[in-house]
């Protein structure tokens, strides 16, 4: 990524033996030290500890005296000689764990579908909120309700609405003749992912809409006036003016959302806790760490999760040329 144009504003003087420069440099470090210490304590330390656990045989009761375990949590292959003379091949570890790769697949499936839906719907809602109409303030406030409700609460709310016998969602669809019989949205394996995507889209679309709206409002109105004078078709105005100009803000919104979607935990954990169709990376990692008491194995999974997220971000930044420093330019 090309940073060279937006770089340091703080210490622009060329390094000289200038005493003033040295003083400023020292005071900069003093002012920054609380943040650096905090980052080390709340970000670097837990991450390093988690990575250490992933190379150990730690369990919940014995994590202080956990011993080094090599890469066994990631991959091991051993041959066991049975008494009968038969030789047993055994391989294991996160990297060959079918359940783990199923969770990775679920996470990316969920991430791709929900982020795409949220982006398209968020764009539509942002365009709507950017237009002037009566009651716009009220509509803006109303749209923020899903986003303001904590995920745990909205997951429970939706769990009740999606209930197969007593849920209102089935009732509405039955009355509209969209479905002919009641569906167990969260329990039925073929619908559980749909339910997760729907609730997540419901919850996060307002966030997308707000971020995109902020980008839309930075577009100067004279380009639209010029397009109107020239009599350009509104669809063409959208593709040729709005979309290219809102693109930087849109790209930042998408990467934030994508990172958020790939580490989804609470919604899945509450709505469909035991479905292998919806189990995501974070859910299966927690399950191994705490339910199965395999702290080391679960940590190996969260380390792989971290690496996957890192690679996704780097690939995305390369691909989309996002500039996080400058925002919309």
């Amino acid at each position: 990524m090309d940073n060279s144009t937006t770089l340091p504003q703080l210490a622009v003087e060329t390094p000289s033996k200038n005493e003033l420069f040295e003083t400023r440099r020292r005071s900069a470090w003093i002012f920054l030290s609380p943040m650096i210490v905090t980052l080390l304590v709340v970000a670097a330390f837990p991450l390093a500890r988690s990575i250490w656990f992933s190379f150990s045989d730690a369990s919940l009761l014995h994590f202080k005296e956990a011993g080094f375990n090599g890469i066994k949590n990631y991959y091991f292959h051993k041959t066991i000689k049975m008494d009968s003379g038969a030789i047993l091949d055994k391989t294991g570890g996160v990297l060959v764990d079918a359940d783990w790769w199923n969770a990775v697949w679920n996470t990316f499936r969920f991430g791709a579908v929900s982020v795409a839906l949220e982006t398209i719907l968020g764009m539509a809602v942002a365009l709507m909120l950017n237009a002037t109409f009566k009651g716009r303030g009220f509509v803006r406030a109303a749209i923020l309700i899903p986003w303001a409700i904590p995920t745990v609460v909205s997951a429970k709310m939706w769990g009740w609405m999606l209930n197969d016998q007593l849920g209102i969602f089935n009732d509405i669809l039955l009355k509209m003749h969209i479905i002919s019989e009641k569906i167990a949205w969260t329990a039925d394996a073929s619908y559980s992912m749909f339910a997760i995507v729907m609730v997540d889209t419901w919850k996060t679309m307002p966030f997308m809409a707000l971020l995109i709206l902020a980008g839309l409002q930075q577009i100067p109105s004279d380009v639209y006036e010029a397009a109107e004078v020239d009599g350009i078709h509104p669809l063409k105005v959208f593709w040729k003016i709005t979309l290219p100009l809102v693109r930087p803000a849109l790209m930042v919104a998408v990467i934030f959302r994508m990172l958020d979607a790939l580490r989804i935990f609470d919604l899945v954990y509450i709505l469909t806790p035991n479905s292998s169709q919806t189990k995501t990376m974070a859910v299966i990692s927690r399950e191994n760490m705490f339910d199965n008491d395999k702290l080391g194995y679960g940590s190996a999974e969260s380390t792989v999760l971290f690496l996957i997220l890192l690679i996704t971000v780097i690939v995305y930044m390369r691909f989309a040329k996002v500039n996080l420093e400058g925002g919309a330019q």
């Binding site: 703080l10 920054l32 109409f133 409700i149 996080l324």
Partner: protein, 114 residues
């Protein structure tokens, strides 16, 4: 920009739909919270109107139960939320400018993720 009547109508239908789908689950949670006993097993789209004085007296039973009876921890939960959010905002306000500085002074792109 001027819109034709047709697109104007479509626009307001879209507005109404978005508002409805945003607000409805919240609305449904509220009307469910006002149900007591076996009323919970009947799907209603409108709030259940109390028909007798006895029913009216039980309208806010769930709220009363959450706030004052049982183990009565909900008031404490509210206080915990206030406590946590106050300190989070205070600490974040103290640290955020420094984080911004770190972004600025760090030439490495990877520092953007800190």
């Amino acid at each position: 920009m001027k819109r034709s009547l047709f697109w104007n109508v479509m626009f307001y239908i879209f507005v109404a739909f978005v508002v409805l789908e945003s607000v409805f689950p919240f609305y449904y949670a509220i009307i469910t919270s006002l149900k007591t006993g076996s009323q919970i097993f009947y799907i209603t789209y409108l709030p259940v109107i109390p028909t007798s004085q006895a029913e009216f007296a039980h309208l806010f039973d769930n709220y009363y139960a959450v706030l004052f009876s049982g183990n009565g921890t909900f008031l404490r939960n509210i206080w915990n939320s206030i406590w946590v959010s106050t300190w989070t905002v205070a600490v974040a306000l103290f640290l955020a400018p420094q984080q911004l500085m770190l972004w600025r002074v760090s030439a490495l792109p990877v520092a953007s993720f800190c």
